[in-house]
Symmetry: C2
Subunit: 297 residues, 2 copies
DNA sequence: CTTGGCGATAAAATTAATTAATTCTTCATA
DNA sequence: TATGAAGAATTAATTAATTTTATCGCCAAG
């Protein structure tokens, strides 16, 4: 059906300008600059070979040709919007994603509202896993956000974030009696440990700090508890980067030094349900990658 | 009216694919590659968070969601196309353009069909001028395509093509008894002259040919007659580039050498009617510039 | 087994859209 | 009249979106 459609984006711009009779206001509605809309209108007029607006003292007026276009275009766009919204509102998709609780609480959850706003038809169900994803119970999960080194045989994974570690402590500790200005001051403080492979030893080595007994201080079996202890001012913990994001954001923890060390570990997306309906998964993974991009810049 | 419209180009691609139930056929209709349409569909599905087609062994099938979208989208695009065509077919614009007859015949006319095809609502009326455009009678011309050096005081002109000169002769002459292989062979031939400032002397100087009496041979008062004489095999003329374009195209004349000399003269667009309805003028001048671009590449 | 048709994909290239920074116009007001 | 404010137009540059090219994989028909 060889229709001879004009450029649809120009038409959209035209329709908005015609409703407002103002390029500036149309630009606001379309969330672009006034210049962008002006360009679109000019291009459309050139392509049609007809002026659509009469430029006037105060504002614009539609020409006869412009007049004739407004109503059909408005109707057409309403139609498109209605059909789209029907699907976006009625067809709620459920996307089941598994991940570590620490990742959910420390990084993902606070961002998820943005996803809901952008994809009102996709409902994310978070399944919290303890350590490694249990393949045997994988039947009802679409996507796994997995922590590790990416070396899982026969698993098609895609990295989306790298882990980094750096010291964190409560802001009160910084203002306390014991100074924490130089790296050497660390020796005066309690070091809090978690039970991960890369820890204080590696960070101190990387930072070039010598003569500190990196093994002293209490250890916790969950990173979460270590961070809590740090937030309570009990000492200095090694924060892990996506995980401490929220605590830093809220000011519960601060970064006394700006030296951070990649641990070689990271977060990976693993597609579990390889059957149909890839679109909801793509929608989520694209959004996730974009959030990471923003987070890291 | 903050509608939440999806990307309109994807929607157009979707509508075409849905009608054909084939990406390849839709791509043909849209005059793009199959890959382009595939990308658009994927992007739309991702953005909607819903699969619109079920990929099948043979061809595609619409999903429930896809089904729901087709009819409204088809209607919407029909509406847009109808409104557009109404203007394009009913509102015929007349654009009056003046130019030298030699330019019209030698370059513009054969291309004009392309303009009519692209802008069915704009009717070009060509007014042939003899030498210089007569400003006193300018009232009923929108645009002047003027030949010269561009130095017209108080005239807002924009160059769109440069003139170049080079020898041309009839193809029969090349096959004749007198050879025309090297520049020196020119001395064996009749040189045909027109009455322009830059001519055989300048071209021969530029080509580094010495010892040829550049003034011998008959002269004609109109370039057109000079070229006609050359086409009849009466000798070798200096062709001027936009003007001999058609004769070269049709094979009436050929270029024995590949040395061409810019004369410093050229063709300029001069806006005469500065009042309203710039769009038809822009449509024509944009098209003209594009034709020149294609011509010169 | 091959072959051919069709869709998906990745990377690169090309186009189109957008912005930032001005400029131009047209009043309204000092 | 100046002067300034508000909105549209413009230009050049940048950024984003689209398209292509080339290739792969799948499946069905020979």
């Amino acid at each position: 059906m060889g229709r001879n459609l004009p450029n649809l984006n120009s038409i959209r711009a035209f329709e908005a300008v015609a409703r407002h009779l103002s390029i500036t206001r149309a630009a606001k509605e379309l969330n672009v600059t006034q210049a962008a809309v002006s360009h679109q209108i000019k291009a459309l007029e050139t392509r049609m070979g007809v002026m659509l607006f009469r430029r006037h003292n105060k504002g614009l007026l539609l020409t006869k040709e412009g007049q004739a276009m407004v109503q059909p275009m408005t109707n057409a766009f309403d139609m498109i919007a209605d059909a789209t919204n029907l699907i976006l509102n009625n067809e709620v998709q459920i996307l089941k994603v598994s991940m570590l609780g620490s990742f959910a609480a420390g990084w993902l959850m606070p961002r998820l509202a943005g996803f809901y706003a952008e994809y009102p038809n996709i409902d994310i169900r978070i399944l919290v896993t303890s350590k490694e994803f249990d393949f045997l119970k994988a039947g009802d999960v679409d996507l796994d956000l997995r922590y590790g080194d990416g070396k899982w045989p026969h698993v098609d994974s895609q990295k989306f974030m790298s882990e980094e570690i750096f010291p964190v402590c409560s802001p009160a500790l910084l203002k306390g009696d014991i100074p924490l200005n130089s790296l050497d001051d660390l020796s005066q403080h309690v070091l809090l440990h978690d039970h991960k492979d890369i820890g204080w030893k590696e960070w101190l080595d990387d930072a070039g700090v010598k003569g500190i007994d990196y093994s002293r201080g209490p250890g916790f079996f969950q990173s979460h508890l270590t961070l809590q202890a740090a937030a309570l001012g009990h000492g200095i913990a090694l924060g892990r980067m996506p995980l401490v994001s929220e605590s830093l954001q809220r000011g519960e923890l601060v970064k006394p030094f700006d030296i951070s060390l990649p641990t070689g570990m990271g977060y990976y997306m693993v597609n579990i349900d390889t059957t149909s309906d890839k679109s909801k998964i793509r929608a989520f993974t694209n959004w996730l990658k974009e959030e990471v991009r923003i987070f890291e810049e």
